[in-house]
Symmetry: C2
Subunit: 481 residues, 2 copies
């Protein structure tokens, strides 16, 4: 593979340039003509489909249904919940013209769908019989980014899902918030192989309009935290301005209790950062569009038939075992070029089949994560392939867990805190008073903010790291994307 | 069921009002706050998912892959193919503002993605090795509708898929155009149970920028034709302005040959119109989100256990046979209310289970299409349910075929043509010269246009119906949505 096709920088030397090269050269995305926008190419879309299918299945199992709301929201509607509107207003794209006609009430491109959805909810919900209303939307949202953009992590349009539920009681809404967050945790830890810390956002960092926000925070290899998903308890903050009322079981009229929650294609960005290496992407087996790529190797005409025959047989058996298999039989490329190409694209397992493998009754299995090569006898191919994939899934998670651990530092000393954030990054775990002034000061002085106040009731081990007053919680600070 | 919940007009008395009531009351859609936009509710979305899954599976089997392109297209890009731009310009929504900042090169909300996609294609395609490029996008497009809107049929935003392919040769591109149209035909006739006539659009009616457009035309119960989907041969009309060049096998540089194709949620509109009746929707078994709804009937406490037990057992066996089953165990509604509710929503098969069915060793099966009730013995339940569903699928298609036939009239006489179009509507099949002037005149005088020039090489049976000169083709005229 020529230098310009492969990755030309090392991950641990120039992380940002490495990331850019990986997303472009592995053909996950391309830049679009409008600034801040990207094109999701087929390889990237196929990973998104894996994530989507997982969430779609899980939420349908728990009674949620999909719906579609318009991409355009009248300004008057967006303004109904004041705090929410103020939060989004700086980044809203406005449609002011249709053809050559001016539009009266200008239309916002949805930055999120709370307002347009809840306008409908207020019409649909009349009685406790209509509850819970458990809906989810697969769409894209648009937020004009002022900060510098980064594919998957921060772009002016992104693909995501947004769940919006309405409940009879506060307790039910809170249960929804937590059970969705747990589903996200399983997706991220078990499928994407990325460990997260779950907990609450501080009041400063919560979703505009929410009572509270729960979050999943991941740690990236450059010491920056990444918010992987959020699940919000909206209480009655939206149901009151939108007048989503229902007649309860005891005939009294009341406002519904609500939750909203979402994850986006940002998860793909996390997979790239956490697992990738100097050769390119490494995809966890549970979210890769292709589990196994088989590369036939034949230089002489008489080798073609036996090699191709064996490849087809092997592919057939692997497919029967439920694996997704791709045979790379492009004759315009050399085997070496193909090896590099599939390494760049992150396919977890490669099988090489040449004439010697035919006569030897086996094939060469190559792991993407470690580069380890093992000759596997034909009779064991299916079992070994499945075993190796499970092992890759497990060891990617363990490696990421190690990294997260290395990047978690506990201190009661603010000087140490500042030094750590400045020199190494990562999570700094500390005791904190939860006062907004201390949070603002720390942000100002270090660039770090509270990423998460963990659910796990960790024992408070000191006084507030900033003001020295009584601490209320153990919290994790970090700089973040 | 109270009058206001059920449909209050008859399909054959006020078709338009009937349609509006069905889409709203069966909870397929609701109107959105912005004029011309609709909300696709869960029941409607579930039907769209059936259509989507079918197409997604079929196109992936034939090597197509999904991708996502931005919703916003810079004006400069949209202008590159002049004819195309002129065609779409009156209905483009323009974004001119982000937050409170004016945007320099204003951004169009995609009315279709040719321009933005082909801008990328020109970067991705370098050699014949990169061809064919077979991509599809699932998204929504926005076209500000000036005419009066109608849910699913004409709205300012709609969900669809758009396929965009690039090929080495003209022949390959033409093959793609036809094989996609055939896939659409199978979807519409075999899954949606709606017969179509396939063929070419006239030059006047083809897609702006295409060399030619192929189409599938359906006939609705009010005598109006509905275009169900299109597949375009773009030739090199876009590859030239967008400079999508490749080095061929013989090293010569050339422009790619292209096809584009799409169907939208309009197909759901066709299902409603063609199959529905005075009670509401009738969903063809192959695209219904629920095949069978089971309604347990128990008025006395001692009946609950045996009835519920039987319902669960029956549901379990039907699910095992691959059917989607819903048990309506809502205790706040009467059985009668539930029957009407599921009839309104179009579920093809209902099973009623009461105490007498428990003792009688069977259950009552009710067909949605005919209303026919049959008592089925427990041992035959699975087989009969599957058989009835197949029969419903078949008979819906036959009924629609009958209707299409009734609405197809052949004539060589322009007076008869005019009378037919005016009084009864439907397709008028006639011989035609293919001249634009005649087509324009007929449109002006009757409101009908050429819906399709059929592939089936029907024998020309007269001279041009308008000018009396030599006829070139048999064509189908109709008024249309």
């Amino acid at each position: 593979m020529s230098k310009e096709i492969g990755i030309t920088v090392k991950k641990n030397e120039d992380f940002s340039e490495w990331y850019t090269q990986v997303v472009l050269k592995s053909e996950l995305i391309d830049y679009a003509s409008a600034k801040g926008f990207i094109v999701l190419r087929p390889h990237g879309y196929a990973i998104w489909e894996k994530i989507k299918d997982y969430i779609d299945r899980r939420i349908k199992e728990t009674g949620h249904r999909n719906a579609y709301f318009p991409a355009l929201i009248p300004e008057s509607l967006l303004k109904k919940e004041g705090e929410h509107f103020q939060g989004f207003i700086p980044e809203v794209f406005w449609v002011t013209q249709a053809g050559d006609r001016k539009i009266g009430d200008k239309l916002a491109l949805r930055p999120t769908s709370e307002t347009i959805a809840y306008d409908s909810y207020s019409k649909w919900i009349r009685s406790w019989r209509d509850l819970p209303l458990l809906l989810n939307f697969w769409n894209s949202v648009m937020r004009a980014e002022i900060k510098s953009t980064k594919p998957f992590i921060r772009t002016s349009e992104f693909l995501w899902q947004e769940g919006h539920t309405a409940h009879e009681t506060q307790e039910e809404a809170e249960k929804e918030v937590r059970s969705i967050l747990e589903m996200y945790r399983q997706l991220i830890e078990e499928e994407l192989a990325i460990p997260v810390i779950t907990g609450f956002k501080s009041d400063k960092e919560k979703f505009v309009g929410a009572v509270y926000t729960t979050t999943l925070e991941g740690m990236m290899p450059d010491g920056m935290a990444l918010q992987m998903g959020t699940s919000h308890n909206l209480g009655q903050n939206f149901s009151r301005p939108f007048e989503i009322r229902f007649i309860g079981r005891e005939k009294q009229e009341q406002f519904v209790w609500q939750a909203s929650w979402g994850v986006s294609w940002r998860l793909i960005g996390a997979v790239i950062m956490v697992h990738g290496d100097d050769k390119g992407l490494i995809l966890p087996p549970r979210v890769t569009p292709i589990h196994v790529v088989i590369v036939p190797i034949h230089y002489k005409t008489e080798d073609i038939e036996p090699v191709v025959g064996k490849v087809k047989d092997l592919a057939g058996r692997l497919k029967q075992a439920g694996l997704t298999v791709h045979i790379d039989d492009r004759d315009q490329y050399t085997p070496g070029w193909k090896f590099h190409d599939w390494e760049l694209k992150g396919i977890p397992l490669r099988i090489e089949v040449g004439p010697r493998d035919v006569s030897g009754g086996g094939a060469m299995f190559v792991r993407r994560d470690t580069g380890e090569k093992v000759f596997i006898k034909d009779g064991e191919a299916v079992e070994k392939a499945s075993g190796l994939l499970e092992d890759i899934q497990r060891s990617l998670f363990e490696r990421a867990k190690e990294m997260q651990k290395r990047y978690t530092f506990t201190t009661e000393n603010y000087e140490e805190f500042k030094k750590r954030i400045k020199e190494e990054g990562g999570f700094v775990r500390t005791s904190f008073c939860l006062k907004r002034e201390c949070e603002d000061k720390i942000k100002e002085e270090t660039g770090a903010d509270i990423r998460v106040i963990p659910f796990k009731d960790e024992e408070i081990f000191g006084r507030c790291i900033y003001c020295g007053e009584e601490a209320k919680k153990v919290v994790y600070f970090a700089k973040s994307y």
